[in-house]
């Protein structure tokens, strides 16, 4: 039985070396408290998706530990995965299924009884404005609709930890705001969120705590203000630019340059 003070996600010295020798993760440690809205930021190839894949069973760590609400993600993977809902970066819908089948099968994979699946499917279709598309094959959906369905699928089995891997990449502003309102709402209801995004203003606005990952290691973590202070800059965006070694792109520099 997990302890009462368990973390939603606890990663200790996580390592991932691919068979081709690439070290994607080199001793990553993070701890996310239940109810947190946690941001994981870093440039492309920093290790964000690999970390998420290790936590959800899509990649096999070569070292370290992952616990989800106290359950070891490797030895007790069943309980760990039930606690996680994953909305991946790529659109990975099954083109043979309809919208409602996508949710129904997902619920089935997570052991939900038929009546519960039916009720939850209707609820999520309504929430994500997909009711009219329920009988359509996923292949016929627009990009925005597919994105909604992926989020609905991640939430289908009522996970306690929702992992959003760049969920707003390529979506229009209306859908982006809609998604964030919903995610903030479920976070307020107690669902822990782990978010990766390239939109720093989103992370700044939404996340209580943020970790910077670069080169497979955690470079810094804390509140947005802590990160700014750590890099001796004014805000999260400048802290990020400092992390990736591109301080010259800071808006203050550019604006200053133009004024001068």
């Amino acid at each position: 039985m997990p302890a009462a003070n368990e973390k939603a996600l606890e990663i200790v010295d996580l390592e991932k070396r691919y068979p081709n020798g690439v070290e994607a993760l080199r001793g990553v440690s993070i701890a996310i408290e239940p109810g947190d809205f946690f941001g994981l930021l870093g440039p492309n190839g920093a290790g964000k998706s690999t970390l998420i894949h290790c936590a959800t069973g899509l990649a096999q760590p070569t070292g370290g530990e992952i616990r989800v609400f106290g359950h070891d993600a490797l030895s007790d993977y069943g309980a760990a995965r039930i606690a996680i809902g994953l909305a991946p970066q790529e659109i990975n819908l099954d083109m043979f299924l309809t919208v409602e089948e996508t949710l129904d099968f997902h619920g089935g994979y997570f052991g939900m009884p038929k009546r519960d699946r039916k009720e939850r499917t209707e609820e999520l279709l309504e929430t994500f404005s997909l009711t009219e598309k329920a009988r359509q094959r996923t292949i016929a959906l627009s990009g925005g609709m597919k994105r909604r369905l992926i989020l609905a699928r991640a939430l289908m089995h009522r996970p306690r930890l929702l992992i959003l891997d760049e969920p707003t990449a390529g979506v229009d502003i209306e859908l982006r705001l809609e998604l964030w309102h919903y995610v903030q709402k479920i976070n307020a209801e107690g669902v822990t969120i782990l978010l990766t995004t390239h939109y720093l203003e989103e992370a700044d606005q939404l996340c209580g705590r943020i970790a910077f990952i670069a080169g497979g290691t955690i470079a810094a973590q804390g509140r947005s203000e802590d990160l700014a202070a750590r890099y001796g800059v004014a805000n999260l965006e400048d802290a990020y630019l400092a992390l990736v070694g591109r301080r010259e792109l800071s808006r203050s520099h550019v604006e200053g340059g133009v004024t001068a």
Binding site: L58, I84, G108, G111, R153
Partner: protein, 255 residues
Amino acid sequence: MSPGQIRFFSLLRREISRFMKIKKQTLGGPLLETFLYITVFGGALGSRIKELHGIEYILFVIPGLIMMSLATNAFTNNSSSILQQKFLGAIHDQLSSPASPRELLLALNLGGFVRGLIVAALTFIVSVVLTNLGVAHVLVLIPALFLVGFFFANLGVLIGVRAEQFDDVAFAQTFVLQPLIFLGGVFYSASLLPQPFETLTRFNPVFYMISLVRYGFVGFSEVNIPVALAALTAATAALFLFNLRLFQRGYKLRS
């Protein structure tokens, strides 16, 4: 039902739902193909050959065609299903679920087996209507069909997991599976072949599968039935355990 049972039946339903949605291709096509074989070999060759080992030629051929339907459909279903899911990334939804490697593998196997069985059953029904086909040894036929179906379902899983492009699946089917089946004695008796082809046929594992199924339907066999059943059981179990090991390791499924 327990959560584990719900999980397993959901995985299986997904497999069955996939081929049922494209049944013209997955059921209709193979059925037409088998019907054409029966027509051509029964009508054209049958009128000249008449009998093999005292059995009407068409009745000699049909058990092999039923076995071929079962084998190729079980194989094709699983190799295609896995590769399509890998290609789309949709398999991640199942891999990140609490389903164990054993549950995933069994559901995939059973999905392919069900498709193979449907086509084989339809072929049998058509054959019964068109010919005098009966069942001579049901206690051999049922385990033989069960084992053949699961062997090729497992082989389909193996090829689907290993495949990185659709060409890999097509290669296995065209250059390995079809020659083994056609040279395994579907349309002829191995004992009628000249040496060394008769002996070479006995190195083809499909020859024993066809012989088992033929014995079940028409009572004629060129192999030792208990030995062939035992060998097929061992081969199916070994292939299943090999696949299970691959699934546990996440070979070409998890990075």
